[in-house]
Every structure is written in structure tokens, then in C-alpha cells.
Symmetry: C2
Subunit: 339 residues, 2 copies
Amino acid sequence: MENITIKVLASRLNLSATTISKALKDSYEISEPTKQRVRALAAELNYTPNTYARSLRTRKSETIAVVLPEIADHFFALVINGIESVVREMGYHVLIYLTHEDYEREKEILQYIKNGRIDGLLISITKNTITSDHIAQLEQENIPVIFFDRIIEQLQVPKVVTNDFESSYQATEHLLNCGCKKIGVCTIFADLELSKQRIMGYKQALKDNHITIDVDQVLCCTEDDKTYDQIYHKLQSVNRPDGLIAIVDKLTLPIYQACENSGLRIPEDLKVISFSNNPSASILNPSLTTISQPAFLIGQAAARLLINSLGPKYEQVQQDITIIPSELIIRTSTSLTNR
Amino acid sequence: MENITIKVLASRLNLSATTISKALKDSYEISEPTKQRVRALAAELNYTPNTYARSLRTRKSETIAVVLPEIADHFFALVINGIESVVREMGYHVLIYLTHEDYEREKEILQYIKNGRIDGLLISITKNTITSDHIAQLEQENIPVIFFDRIIEQLQVPKVVTNDFESSYQATEHLLNCGCKKIGVCTIFADLELSKQRIMGYKQALKDNHITIDVDQVLCCTEDDKTYDQIYHKLQSVNRPDGLIAIVDKLTLPIYQACENSGLRIPEDLKVISFSNNPSASILNPSLTTISQPAFLIGQAAARLLINSLGPKYEQVQQDITIIPSELIIRTSTSLTNR
DNA sequence: ATGAAAGCGCTAACAA
DNA sequence: TTGTTAGCGCTTTCAT
């Protein structure tokens, strides 16, 4: 089957390729009748321009990349929905790359992404990302980069996050209001900025309420396959908390299971709050108090920032960090109980 | 900053562009010393080939598209993981397009995807997709298409699905074994093949067990915003089921909520099974018996089929449909109760 | 209002 | 083993 190119249209209409090209872009240089003939034939033959030829010429691909750790995570899935909602209107295409928390893989991806394949990048780093050279390199190639959720603080790149510090602070105060005396916090990301912020918010809330911070109550489960054991062990110990904040949704499952298996009742023996966007939070046993992150909005904001920076160059004066607040949704897992 | 192209390398090394090109592909035509010089300089200057120039020339983009209804759905997210696991090794890139169950949008996407941007397509259709012309058109452009999960039966295109009929049959028998006398089934997809298959499996199981099929027990919630009400109403009615199979995970939430709000106890008053890949099934109240679909494997199988069909042409003799079985995971929502 | 010519960066056929 | 030439399909001067 013959490939329909601009040349084909041109020869069929006895026009030049140039004229076709201009007509299809509705250029003012072309007469209305000509435009109509061109459009008619293009439609008839179902012409679509060859992306690569165009991109080669214009140095624009109308494609962005989203690099993130995981997609089977409601938070990230919603972020992608947000990104897609913006990007689709602008006619951009989205390449997705998953790092699976593998830092080397992240570097690899950025390496073979920087060849002109994309116009811009949205990225949420792995929990192991320790340098930023691979990202800075993209900027050098004039590929704009926007961080979302998992950022590198030091890098001079626009970032979109939620109010990690404040929402954690708020969660801690909520637990205090529920009568918790010994509040713990649990994370699986030792080094991510968001984790640090959330732990800082927790500590600050304790401090402001004149409660001594017990480092023993900050549980850091860095190895996936030991997460459950660590939590179980912690909940069995003498120094077990009576309130627990999970920094990330992935901890919900092991926490609930550990309680189940050790006979601890939620919320009677342990009150739980988790950062989570999982819709099933409301039908867990018991229903889970969550800090619901504005995932969709984060995606939208990041995508908008990126697309703006793709337009007329050098308007990079946008504020460096965009903060969209999370929402505390109170459910049964932090219900008041008479003890 | 100067753009590093093959020409730059060529002039720096006093070689021709052709030689560089061949050297970088490790062609047998080029001498080892030359190759080394080329590689060294390429590495030093951090050369990466321009994708678009290459694609324009070779008519290969090393990119596939995945078109699906939704990403914030654990099943689809896992499918994407499966796809990515295969595609990454082969050095392919993945464009993601979400239809949000919008048939028109699906057509649009396929329209502007068929311009050479992609080498192949993996698709799971919307619940409203009624024709297949837009898909057949891609095939005409020599873009291979593979269906996964949500297929169009009639189309002569490779498909990857789970054993919808059998797993539903099995679920129904499980409910019968649990003592259910009046089993219902609930779907939100009237027309999807998978929905039909699952309902047929359910009916066949009843038939084989000499139970009269009551069409009233097939609940079809086609309008999103009425789903909850329909379910609630059904569970309130005189003819309410004592066992219920949810064709899709999205129904879990409204079913649980309807039971909660109407005072029906699971599993005492109603036993529930849902097609679901949601990890939180085990910590729901009560934990949910699920039919767990092999989402990751489906993604892998589909991706492999696609990539194979991208290689040497015309080996299209692969079997038309690949069926990967689901697994019934029995939990508390179908526990035996003494009534 | 239309067209000729050049070239984006690469690769493939063909020479040398 | 290396180089010359041409051209993928498009857009962009710059003429006409």
C-alpha cells in the first residue's frame, strides 16, 4: 500500500510540497480554495504527517517522558492521570519509564532518553537516587525537567510536592488528640526528601506538644522483605507505640497484618494513620484514617509547568517549588476508645 | 552547545559519516582499530544518535503504544508492569494512552498514532467500543496489534486473556459449595467479551448444578453514578442474593458499602467473590475472596507476541488467542456460616 | 499565492 | 576497509 506523504498530495493536486505543508497548517500565505482542496484530499486519503520527519526538522517531538519508580501504586497512577489530562489537550504524547527503585536503571533511562526523543521530562526519583548528575545532564541538553513528589532538594529545577511536613504534623496532632501517648512513625524510605519532611513534621508536632522524642519510635524499614518482621517485632516490644503514622501506603498491609497476627486491636491498642490514596481505605477492617495526597493535582501541576517551559524559551522564572496540600481523612483506625 | 552528530565524529576523526555509522553498529566491515577510535570519541563526547533521523530512515521507531481505559486500576497497572518487563529488555519504548472508557477518544488516539510513531500496539478496548474499523486500519498500515484482556472477538488479531468463563464457573461452584442458594452476578460492562464470558461461566455452573437461572440475579450497572444505588437496592429487595460475584474490582467498594449501610453481614448474609488484583483484599472487613487475574503474565505475553510480530515479517501463524488462568483465592467473605 | 532548493541526521546501495 | 551519493518526509528560507 502506497504511503501517503506530502509529495503524493502535491503531485495529485499539481501543487508543490511546500504549498501542501503550508495549507495543512492553515498558513495565511495560502488561498482559501487551495486550502480546501488540500484538506479535502488529505482527509480522503487519510493522510497523517510523518512524525519523525517533522521532528527531525523542527527539533520538537511533542513527546514527554514520565520516569517514576512504580506504576502499581495508586498515588503514582493518579499522578499519571493528572499528567495525561493536561498533556492530552496539548497534543503531547507520553512515554512511561519505570525504575522499580533501581538507581542504575534510572541513569540508563535518562541516558537513552536524551537523544531528542523527548521535549521534556517529569521525574520522581528512586529511593536510592543519590546523585543528580544524570538529571543535570538533561538540563544541559536543553531538556526541561520537573520533579514531582520525590525530589532532589538541591537541584535548581521546578518541583511539585505536597505539604509533607505539615500533613505529618497534623497527623501527629490528631493522634495526640485521640489520646495517644507514644506515637511512632514508620517509613521505608530513609533518604527521600518527602520521608525526611514527614518525619520532621512528626517530630515538630511532638516537640510543640512538649513530648520527648524517642528515636526508638522512628521505624525505618529499608529492606522490602523484612518490613513485615520489623513492624511485627516493634509492635510486640515493650516499647510499642499506641499510635502509628505510616509514611507510605505500602506499609498499610504489613501493619494491619502484624496487628492481626499479634492480636493488637486497631484502634483500641494501636491507632493508625497512613499516607494513602487507596480507595479501599474506607472498607478496611477497621477503615483507615489517611492522609490523602492530591496526586491528580500534582500530576496536573507538574505537567503544566513542563509544558509551559516548552514554549517560548527562557521564561524560567517560575517559582521553584509548588506545594499542594494533602487532606487528613479521619476514619475508624483512629477512633476514640475508652481505655 | 554544539550538537554531537555523526558528522561531528566523522570530521574529528577524518572519517566519513558512513564509517562512523557502521563502526557504532559494530559492523564487520570496519576494522577493529577504527571501531575503537570511534567508540572512544563517541563516549567522550557523549554522543547519542538522533532517534528521529534514524527512525525516518529505517522506518522503525522502537516504540510501542499501550492503549487502555484506565491506569488507576491495579489490574491494568500490573499489566503495564508485565509489558514493561519484556519491552525494556528489547530496548523498546512505551507510549501510554488512556481512553477513560471513551470510545471516541480511542478512535482519536489510534488516528494520530498511525503515522509511524509506533511499531506496534497493545490495546484493551473501552467498554463502549462497538466497531473495530479504527483498529483494522492500523493493521492495514502494517502496524501489528495485540489485544489484551478486553478484546474484540471477531477481529483476526492475536489476543491475550484470562480464562474468564472457567474462573467464573469455578467461583459460582465455590459459592454453591458454601451453601448459597441464590447466587447473583454483577457487572458494569454490558458488552465486553470478558463480561459475557464471565456471566456465561456463572450461568453454566448453575445449569450444571440444576439450578434455574434467574435473570433477575444478573445485575448490570452501566452508569457509574448509579452503581451504588442499584446494588443497594438489589440487596434490599425480597429477591436478594445470598452470594454475589463481582465481575470487576470496581464493584467491591459499593458492594461492601451497601452491605454496611443496609446491615447485611458478609459472609453471614451475603457471600462475596470479586475479580480483583487489589492487594488490600486480604485486609478488608471481612477479607475478600478474589479471582486473581494473572495481570503481569498477561502483560508479558502480549508484549512478547507483539515484539515477535515486529521481527521478520509474515510469521503471523501464532495462535490467535492466549489464555492464562486466573486463581481463586478463598478468604473470609465466603466463609461457611451456620444458618 | 505558490514554488525551488536546501537540509535536519541518519543509513543503505554502491563504488573504490 | 572506507567513502560517495542519495534520500527518508518534512519545513524553512528565499525567490517568483
